[in-house]
Amino acid sequence: MSLPPPTQTRRRGARGPVADPGRVAAMVAVAGLVLSLAASWATAQVDANSEHRLLEWQTKQAGSVLSTAVTLLEQPLATALSVQQVAGRARDDTAFTGFIAPYVGSGKSFLSASLWRRDGQAMTRLASVGAEPGLASDTAALQAFLQRAFQSATTVVEQVTTDSGALVAWARADPGTGYAVYAERAAPAGRRAAVASDSAYGSLHYAMYIGRQTAPDALFATDVDPATLPLDGDTSRVTIPFGDTGITLVTSPQHHLGSDLSRWLPLALLLGGVLLTALAAWTTRRLLQGRREAEQDAATITTLYEQVEELYGQQRELFVRLQRALLPQATPQMAGLEIASEYVAGAFGIDIGGDWYSFVALDDHRFAFVVGDVSGRGVDAVAVMAQARFTLRAYLLEGQGPATALERCSHQFDIVADGHMSTVVAGVGDARTGEVTLANAGHPVPLLLDGGVRPVHVPPGRPLGAGPSRYEETTLRMPPGSTLFCFTDGLVERRGEDIDTGLGRLAETLLRSADRPVADLVADAVAQLRGDAADAADDVVALAIRRVGAG
């Protein structure tokens, strides 16, 4: 039952307390989020660069297409002027009309086209096809525009606003012949014109301005609400030649231009990173918490162990105190005698044995004594011991001889009922005469030290509890200086050895200490015989009575 010392007891905290799982998990989460954000940001940057390049490339393409379209649009005007130059020498003004007519009308290239000739500083209209020119109502402006054409080597262009809407006006002149061609084209209604969704540029928003500036009044057409211009976000711009000025095309992406992977990768990285981070943080927390719980469990077990150990210790201490309380409290005294005793509790867990001794003064020179041993261990054994001790003491105080006292007791104890039996040596003596009468209930017999050492032959009767029995008495006379040594079997009994071997060892030990004071004699015997016992499990009681003085 003896528990080994809890060697792990106070190692708690030797490796330091486990870090707070929540805190470590939070650190993991922060690190993971930072990494995820960085990866996501870098990918987003790559995607943004790629988007911008795609936009610029598409815008450049659109500029080329527009440039071609403008050239194709303007070509009939130049051709018409050339035709008129040839026909003009023949005084035929109808050549112009015949050539340009297919290009003019609703849904055609131009709303109106007209032929003019310079006469000095004035411009005279020679012919006109299609609608009345919107700019004709403002003759001064038209005159100025045509004058500009004569000073330019190329076609001149201008955006004009009239009562009927916005127009683009072209004028091309040949200073050599004095002819000029003038044409107008309507801007889209409200300046809005959607890009066909199946076009190569269906993924772009655009705003087209006449000229090199992007001022609101220069706007020619856009696919968005003009009020929202200029285009925001990532934009690209290209300017293509247009007459004596240019067309500025500004674009922005309607939606993502590159691959979907490139578009979603930053988000995927961010979401994946956040998920992995959450998982890592959760796992970290679980692992740390598991470790912490395991350590707490270990600490709890250690604490319980210590508590159990302490309880065992307390219980054992209580029992030993109980048993000692049942032994004589002070060394008995009687004139003519030196008395010494030892009691040693067995090392047997919390169980204690039932060894005891008594010494009673019957009067000033007569005494009685008992050494007994209750078989077995535990509180029950101590209870039987107490009962036997006080019963025997009562009979001896009453004046009964040791045999009678034992015989009466033998009727009062029963191993079947008590679970224990007791071996007892009881004696009554006279300090003046040295006469001692002994009776024995199955107990190891006392030894008499008188120069030598010899067992006192006291024929054993049954132990108390083994049924009613009769006991024989033996009387001896202790010479002055002799010592009667009574003991329990714990002093001599060893496993794997004859009882006589133990008795012989005791006799030798006593002989060596025979001349020493009686207290030392007892102490030596107990120390030496218990000292070499490998398993000193049993209790030991030893009582020595030495007769002193002259007899």
């Binding site: 077995g376 029963d414 509890g465």
Partner: protein, 105 residues
């Protein structure tokens, strides 16, 4: 030395025999009394102590208790093959007469 072991067999003439070996001590007595008590019904029980290596006061007490239980039940217990060491203890404790066929002191 060693834990006690018990073997039960039918001995001649058909009386049960409880053979005890090892240490008949405080650790073994409960088991011993339980097994032996269960065999008392046959009227005669032979307890073979031939292989007992050690017996302490509780072991002796158990033999006494068995004997007294047998008396109460009208049964007989015989100890056989008692080792000298055990016989010497019986003698010292005044139990020879009670437990064996030897004379009462």
């Amino acid at each position: 030395m060693g834990m006690a072991e018990f073997v039960t067999a039918a001995g001649p003439p058909a009386a049960p025999v409880l053979a005890v070996s090892g240490d008949l001590d405080i650790a073994a007595v409960d088991d011993f009394l339980h097994r032996a008590g269960a065999l008392l019904g046959a009227g005669v029980l032979e307890v073979d102590l031939g292989a007992v290596t050690f017996i302490d006061s509780t072991g002796l007490g158990a033999l006494v208790q068995l004997r007294r239980q047998a008396d109460a039940a009208g049964a007989q217990v015989r100890l056989t093959n008692v080792p000298a060491r055990v016989g010497r203890l019986l003698e010292l404790t005044g139990l020879t007469g009670l437990l064996t066929d030897g004379p009462e002191p």
